[in-house]
């Protein structure tokens, strides 16, 4: 069996500050990390691989050369091989161009059973690449996945989160999944020995020539959307937290509302 995980290196948004004047994100000096949702995807992949045996995990990313460190982290987490899809031609890709590029890489790998993606990347939060990739590969998809079980006939049982609970779905392979934080296991730190092993695992770099495909569909040219500005909306008001038992809290709240003339006393 072959599992493929698509990951992204993102700025650590917990470290990103907002310029108080322009409201744009200050990314300078912000460390890059493996997108946390993708880490869940890798860990789930590795867990399933270890459960079924005779199976390998390839991890891919499209990104600049620095994205190597995110892939190394995936190898440390247990993936078997890494592929960095990197070329100036891919710069400026939106989610559609990204999904097209990833689909070419997956087709080049040749065979697969499950493609794993994180639900979304914490820098853009679009949650589009996974579904678009499934579309380009022509395979079914399940999003918002929080739990996966696989039986010995390779039938998947999936818990998909919904607004008021979850659905239990069964699926046949091949298939694409986008993952939420897992509910069925506790993510673990890769121990030191797997960090040492990471360096010895296959690491490939594929450029635009290696991928082939329609060059007009890469990068900025192949993108339907462009990011003009990233910013945080200005704060609209102060937030006050009332911490008390319900009765007292209600009293305090009504007082504040009256004081601010949101309510009038009769």
């Amino acid at each position: 069996m072959k599992l493929i995980a698509c990951i992204k290196q993102v700025p650590d948004t917990t470290e990103v500050k907002v310029d108080p004047k322009t409201h744009t994100l200050i990314r300078d000096g912000v460390p890059s990390i493996l997108n946390p949702y993708d880490q869940f995807a890798i860990e789930e992949c590795v867990r399933i691989r270890d459960q079924i045996g005779d199976c390998s995990v390839s991890v891919l990313t499209m990104g600049p050369p620095q994205a190597r460190s995110a892939l190394m982290r995936c190898l440390a987490l247990g993936a078997d091989e890494a592929i960095l899809i990197s070329d100036k031609a891919f710069a400026g890709s939106d989610t559609w161009a990204t999904a097209y590029t990833l689909s070419l890489a997956i087709k080049k790998i040749g065979f697969f059973d499950i493609v794993f993606c994180g639900q979304q990347a914490i820098d853009g939060d679009t949650a589009q690449v996974g579904p678009e990739l499934a579309q380009q590969l022509g395979i079914p998809q399940v999003t918002y996945v929080e739990k996966i079980e696989i039986d010995n006939k390779n039938k998947l049982t999936i818990n998909k989160q919904t607004e008021d609970g979850y659905q239990i779905l069964e699926a046949k392979l091949p298939l694409l999944l986008t993952l939420l934080p897992p509910t069925s296991f506790q993510p673990e730190h890769p121990p030191m020995s797997s960090i040492l092993k990471a360096k010895r695992k296959p690491f490939n770099i594929w450029d635009v020539e290696t991928l082939g495909g329609d060059k007009s569909r890469f990068g900025l040219d192949g993108s339907f959307t462009q990011v003009i500005k990233t910013y945080t909306p200005p704060k609209r008001g102060e937030c006050e937290l009332i911490e008390d038992n319900p009765k007292e809290a209600a009293k305090k709240l009504s007082k504040i509302l009256c004081k601010n003339e949101a309510l009038t006393k009769r």
Binding site: S69, M72, R73, A76, H189, P190, P191, M192, S193, I195, L196, A198, K199
Partner: protein, 399 residues
């Protein structure tokens, strides 16, 4: 030219170390001050992350990494645990595990190292006695041969990890005299298990810091150990012990750098928030100059520390001499505790009266790094080593 970059593996390791510390260490440090011994679950967590055998030969369950990697672990652990108790457990186990790995018999290595690496037992060091510390040649504990065993009599004092070894299991790399008239040339180094050993009676002291690792001593009354616990050759223990001390001292430099750099970060956050006379106190030069001076010192300390461990690695590879190692290590340790405690003291000062309360986490670090003017070799002894290398052995006062 000099290449100051860490390797890709070392960077990956640091990243994982930071995550490990954030989830496994930081949330537990507050409780640590209550216990006066290292909780078993922390030792087990370190073992699970495979930190306890970093530099040990893979044949005995270790990972065989370089010593710089151990330095990264020491630095990150000190950033996470202001009491420095976990870093101490780590650095002592690493350094004396290394000595067992290098000088132990095959039988001893197979018996001791895997258990220490998987967190079942601990490894400590015991050279100090009530009446001697720096002057190892004057120690009173004696070791003699009896058939295929050794018999030890004497006492050790101010030893870290006694309670852990007594309760969880494990023991201490110990130094004793075999041929008293030969001074430091008549000493043996050996492994002394403490738990359930007949003739060992522990006592405890209460240190002012590092409160989650025990400190104490033990009487050694006709204790028998098997021959295979000897480390290195008879009467050559003094030389082997220094290899452990040097490694521990290099790691201590990075523990001090880690603790102080974390305190400075806390201080920076505070002086950017706290106002006095209508301004953030971080705007006053009196505070900025202290910040700048401390930053330079702690960065210099960090570089001295990594340079020292790099030299240690070079010696392992046969590319540096023991003298190069002694000098580089002594330089780093000679300033480590002092620069770190001064930096942390300034951070406490910036926090005003709050800085002097037990709630302030930096005071824990201050009490902890203070120990390193003594533990694993005093500041004065480090300066003697530096001067000895500069002037020659004939200038040693006690020769």
């Amino acid at each position: 030219m000099v290449d100051y970059r860490f390797t890709e593996e070392q960077e990956l390791f640091r990243e994982s170390m930071k995550e490990f510390c954030a989830s496994e260490i930081v949330p537990k440090t507050e409780k640590l001050t209550e216990v006066r011994r290292m909780p078993k679950e922390i030792i087990k967590a370190l073992a699970k992350f495979e930190l306890l055998g970093l530099i040990i030969d893979p044949e005995y369950g270790g990972l065989g990494t370089d010593v710089i990697t151990a330095g990264i672990a020491a630095e990150e652990l000190a950033r996470a645990d202001p009491s420095c108790s976990i870093p101490v457990l780590f650095l002592v186990g690493t350094s004396w595990g290394h000595v067992i790995d290098k000088y132990g018999t095959e039988e001893a290595k197979k018996e001791i190292l895997p258990k220490a690496i998987n967190g079942e037992q601990i490894i400590g060091i015991a050279t100090t006695e009530s009446d001697i510390g720096s002057d190892l040649g004057s120690m009173k504990t004696k070791i003699s041969k009896k058939g295929d065993k050794y018999i030890i009599n004497g006492e050790k004092m101010y030893i870290s990890g006694v309670a852990e070894a007594m309760e969880y299991g494990g023991g201490h790399v110990t130094l004793a005299k075999m041929t008293p008239d030969k001074g430091t040339r008549g000493m043996c180094l050996f492994y002394l298990p403490l738990k359930d050993t007949k003739g060992i009676t522990p006592t405890y002291v209460e240190d002012i810091g590092r409160e989650a690792i025990s400190c104490g001593g033990f009487d050694i009354n006709n204790v028998e150990i098997p021959k295979h616990y000897l480390l290195g050759e008879e009467n050559k223990g003094f030389y082997c012990v220094h290899e452990g001390y040097e490694l521990a001292r290099g790691l201590i430099a990075l523990v001090c750098a880690g603790a102080a750099s974390k305190a400075l970060e806390n201080g920076i956050a505070y002086i950017k928030e706290r106002k006095a006379f209508g301004r953030h106190i971080g705007k006053y030069e009196g505070i900025q100059f202290k910040l700048a001076e401390n930053h330079v010192r702690i960065q210099a300390l960090r570089e001295l520390g990594y340079k020292a461990l790099w030299t240690y690695d070079q010696e392992i590879q046969g590319k540096a001499s023991r003298f190069d190692v002694s000098m580089a290590i002594a330089m780093a340790k000679s300033v480590a505790s002092i620069w770190a405690s001064e930096a942390i003291n300034d951070v406490m000062q910036w926090q005003g009266a709050f800085g002097y309360t037990k709630e302030c986490e930096d005071q824990k670090a201050w009490r902890a790094v203070r120990s390193f003017t003594l533990a694993e070799g005093s500041t004065e002894i480090m300066k003697l080593i530096i001067a000895r290398e500069l002037l020659g052995k004939e200038f040693l006062a006690y020769r």
